[in-house]
């Protein structure tokens, strides 16, 4: 099976095979992430509406439940034996708030999340030694929890903006891994 290339073969009306390549050219001049007005507004709106106490705990709990290998990073958290124990664990709830506080920093500095997260990235790579692939798992759980909280307001377009924001957050957290 092929890799992740985005080649699209189209057969045009004359039956000729044309090969269209869809590959983004890296923009050498700008290192900043560009946010549209809609994206900025959507991210601010999400974070103004969600309940931080609920979302942080719920997202981290789901991550520990759905992807149980992530529990390896929380050896000091006590009882994580089953879903009920995880969702009622006070250390999980407290750490959920820590995560939300970290995300809030990114929301307040959307134009340079990479610099804002430099120390956090070093912390996760050198001290906590977290496999960065796990960041995507937490991001997915966060998306699902936010979707549940926001309901119909979490339209595909809003979902797309949130997805982009989390992708930038994850990339920034991965930045200092060497």
């Amino acid at each position: 099976m092929g890799g992740a290339q985005l080649d699209v073969y189209k057969v045009d009306l004359l039956g000729l095979l044309t090969h269209t390549r869809q590959r983004k050219q890296p923009n050498q001049n700008s290192k900043m992430v560009k946010w549209s007005d809609f994206e900025r507004a959507a991210i601010q709106d999400i974070f103004s509406k969600i309940n931080y106490d609920v979302v942080g705990c719920a997202a981290l709990s789901r991550c520990l439940i759905v992807y149980p290998w992530t529990q390896r990073y929380f050896g000091g958290f006590g009882n994580l034996y089953n879903a009920a124990a995880i969702t009622s664990n006070p250390k999980v709830a407290a750490h959920g708030k820590v995560i939300m506080a970290g995300l809030e920093k990114a929301v307040k500095n959307m134009d340079d999340i990479k610099t804002t997260y430099k120390d956090l990235s070093v912390l996760h790579s050198e001290k906590l030694q977290v496999d960065p692939d796990n960041f995507n798992l937490l991001a997915d759980c966060l998306t699902i929890v936010v979707a549940g909280q926001m309901g119909a307001a979490f339209t595909p377009e809003v979902h797309g903006a949130f997805q982009k924001f989390l992708a930038v957050v994850v990339a920034s957290l991965r930045k200092q891994y060497h």
């Binding site: 699209v8 439940i65 339209t155 979902h159 997805q163």
Partner: protein, 152 residues
């Protein structure tokens, strides 16, 4: 990916609860509750690289016939997989061969579709989509899509 008996029961129970709406999740329900958009269309919007497999559709909007039809086809496939949960490999063999050898879909895209199904379930059934149901559905969809691709 091994589904335990508990996982299978959780999936069956949850699916039975929502199954009067399962096809609706694919099509009309979403138009009734305008913003609930089906998982398939949501995936096309949030992960535009998936649109490359559907370049033969002129209109990729949620109300277009091919998107509605394919959304319903996908959710019907998932419903079928629930019914065949005790032997997914045999049950999904022909779909598996289709996606692997004819459509040749990059495996990463199935994980993306799976995520979008879970997001729509979270939106549509916030009280029923508990962490226990979430993990069972995640494992189930992983098993379904893993088998949809790795037919050899």
């Amino acid at each position: 990916m091994n589904l335990t008996a508990k996982d299978k029961n959780t999936v069956r129970t949850f699916w039975a609860k929502i199954s009067t709406n399962a096809e609706d999740i694919g099509t009309d329900f979403c138009l009734k509750i305008k913003s609930f958009f089906p998982p398939f269309f949501r995936m096309l919007v949030v992960y535009p690289q998936t649109k490359t497999y559907f370049s033969h559709w002129k209109d990729p909007s949620p109300s277009s016939a091919p998107v509605k039809k394919h959304g319903a086809t996908v959710m019907a496939g998932v419903a079928d997989a629930v019914a065949k949960i005790d032997d997914l490999r045999a049950g999904l063999l022909s779909l598996s061969e289709l996606h692997a050898f004819t459509l040749r879909v990059d495996p990463a895209n199935f994980k993306v579709l799976s995520h979008n199904i879970l997001v729509v379930l979270a939106i549509s059934f916030p009280n029923d989509f508990t962490p226990e149901v979430h993990v069972a559905m995640d494992k189930f969809l992983s098993a379904v899509f893993h088998l949809s691709l790795m037919s050899t």
